[in-house]
């Protein structure tokens, strides 16, 4: 049973990213705290989504009793181990930065005698209030991070004793998690991202965020799988497995585009002031290039690059398309969070990139660390043979 060994380069990369991130964040707090909180929220959510997708992918493989991915299952599981860290960071960001991040947390909005009294937010008070919000964040943390930790425990147990007992335990927990994920992925998206624009609402928002989360996570999973394969940890993962990951990336990019467009078109068509405010801001001259770029990268690149069978079977095209898609979906989250907080003063600079590097470095370190403690290939998984002989 082969474990991953953390190389020197892994450490240099993760700690380098963290160090660069700390510098960026420190610079941010010294110059523009609001912008720094906003980019911390955005970066944290971006990486949290990737980890959450790892958990989602891992669990639905068990719910569907799918065999093809059995050999690479430890990659999404290790990705999910970032969830405890991300959930704690999210809670801290909310506790210390809520005044800058979420307009609805300001107390004077709910005071009927105050000139700032906001009738719309007053009506949403039953849902959007700080105690309930913190309870929800803790609840997400328990569900997401708790599942990730428990599933890892079962996986370690499976490595140790073998048999199918832990497979069925994992399967049971996976079913429970998937039901809870269906709810929490939507409500989490409303809480963490949509409440940035507390006056605005979109009924499609939960699904839209879920689709973006899924694409990003799959892409990261594909890239990490290829990385481990190239370092000789996956001797039996071949182009068929890469092809299937590529298919997922392609399909869910189209799904993301579908939801992005469905949300945009209905709001654009109906042209109701309270709905259109969200897009009107993001179509201001300062933000319009990014608004268009976001759509172009996240739709056109995967659509054209990953459409043919041959390109999905080549690691290099998957890597190139994947890298661009990660940038694209980073822009997508950026467009949701930053203009909502900063208005047209939202920029992409050292603060935003630094914050993302900080969380990315942390994510990579947690990933490699977790990978080094479980077997890279779950040799006691009952469907491992099926995965080896997967043919597409």
């Amino acid at each position: 049973m082969k474990n991953y060994t953390i190389t020197k380069n892994n450490k240099i990369l993760s700690f380098g990213l963290i160090a660069f991130g700390v510098v960026g964040i420190a610079y941010g707090f010294a110059t523009d705290p609001t912008r720094t909180w906003a980019s911390l929220l955005q970066s944290n959510f971006f990486l949290l989504a990737i980890a959450l997708c790892g958990l989602f992918f891992y669990t639905f493989q068990f719910a569907a009793e799918a065999g093809w991915a059995a050999g690479i299952l430890r990659v999404p599981l290790a990705m999910a181990q970032f969830l405890p860290h991300a959930c704690v960071a999210l809670l801290l960001i909310f506790i210390f930065g809520h005044h800058d991040l979420y307009h609805w947390t300001h107390a004077e909005l709910y005071d009927k005698n105050s000139p700032h009294f906001d009738e719309i937010l007053y009506g949403k008070k039953a849902f959007l209030n700080i105690p309930f919000f913190v309870i929800r964040l803790i609840l997400y943390g328990i569900i997401w991070a708790g599942s990730a930790v428990l599933l890892r425990k079962y996986a370690l147990e499976e490595d140790r004793v073998g048999g199918t007992e832990n497979y069925w335990k994992t399967s049971k927990l996976s079913h429970v998690f998937l039901v809870l994920f269906a709810i929490t992925s939507s409500t989490g998206a409303w809480d963490i991202l949509m409440s940035v624009d507390a006056h605005w609402f979109s009924t499609l928002f939960g699904w839209y965020i879920f689709s973006g989360l899924f694409v990003t996570g799959l892409t990261v999973m594909g890239i990490l799988t290829i990385y481990l394969k190239r370092n000789g940890y996956f001797p039996k993962v071949n182009e068929n497995h890469i092809h299937d990951i590529g298919k997922y990336m392609f399909a869910f990019s189209i799904f993301w585009t579908y939801l992005w467009f469905s949300q945009f078109m209905l709001i654009w068509y109906a042209n109701l002031p309270e709905e259109v405010a969200y897009y009107a801001l993001r179509q201001e001259p300062e933000l319009r290039p990014i608004f268009i770029l976001n759509f172009v990268i996240n739709f056109t690149i995967p659509f054209l690059v990953l459409m043919s069978r041959d390109s999905k079977r080549k690691e290099n095209t998957v890597l190139v398309a994947g890298a661009l898609m990660i940038i694209g979906h980073w822009l997508d989250v950026w467009l949701i969070v930053m203009p909502g907080i900063m208005g047209t003063h939202a920029h992409i600079g050292i603060i935003e990139i630094g914050a993302t590097c900080f969380f990315a470095g942390l994510f990579l370190y947690v990933f490699f660390n977790s990978m080094s403690k479980t077997a890279v290939v779950p040799e006691n998984h009952p469907m491992i043979e099926e995965s080896y002989h997967f043919y597409l």
Partner: protein, 174 residues
Amino acid sequence: MSKYIFAVYNDEDVLMQNIKPLRSQGVRIKEVFSPFPIHGMDHLIGHKRTRIAICSFIYGAIGCLLAIWMTQYMMIADWPMDIGGKPSFAYYKNVPAFVPIIFESAVFCAAHGMVLTFYLRSKTLPGVTAFVPDKRMTDDRFIMQVECNDASKKADLTNLLLKHGAEEVKEYGK
């Protein structure tokens, strides 16, 4: 035109296992008929990968362009429409309203074009007599269509097929 004989198998695993040795002995397999799809069969009998995906892309692109032209002519040029209370009458400003139509048209053309191409290519257009070497191929038998141009070698080939798991070897329709 090539002549063929048909080897009947009653188990797809036996059939799959024997294809490789048969092909290595120079037996040319044209086609395999089975009541259900057998995964990996086309690869085994040496069929090239289908190019229908390329056709599909071309049909989809045609459908896309067709709908772009159609919406431009109908909604902007011939009878300008006030879309969503935004009377801009410019195609690029109204294009979100046309995207669903463009999308549906691309899907429509790709799907129908693909079906027609498939029918034409496999010669199963409505009205054409179906190619059925043995009626049991729709029930529980697996039929391998083997090229046999040289009548003198037919007996040898038949023996070879029978040795490699075939239940019987027959000619078309008999």
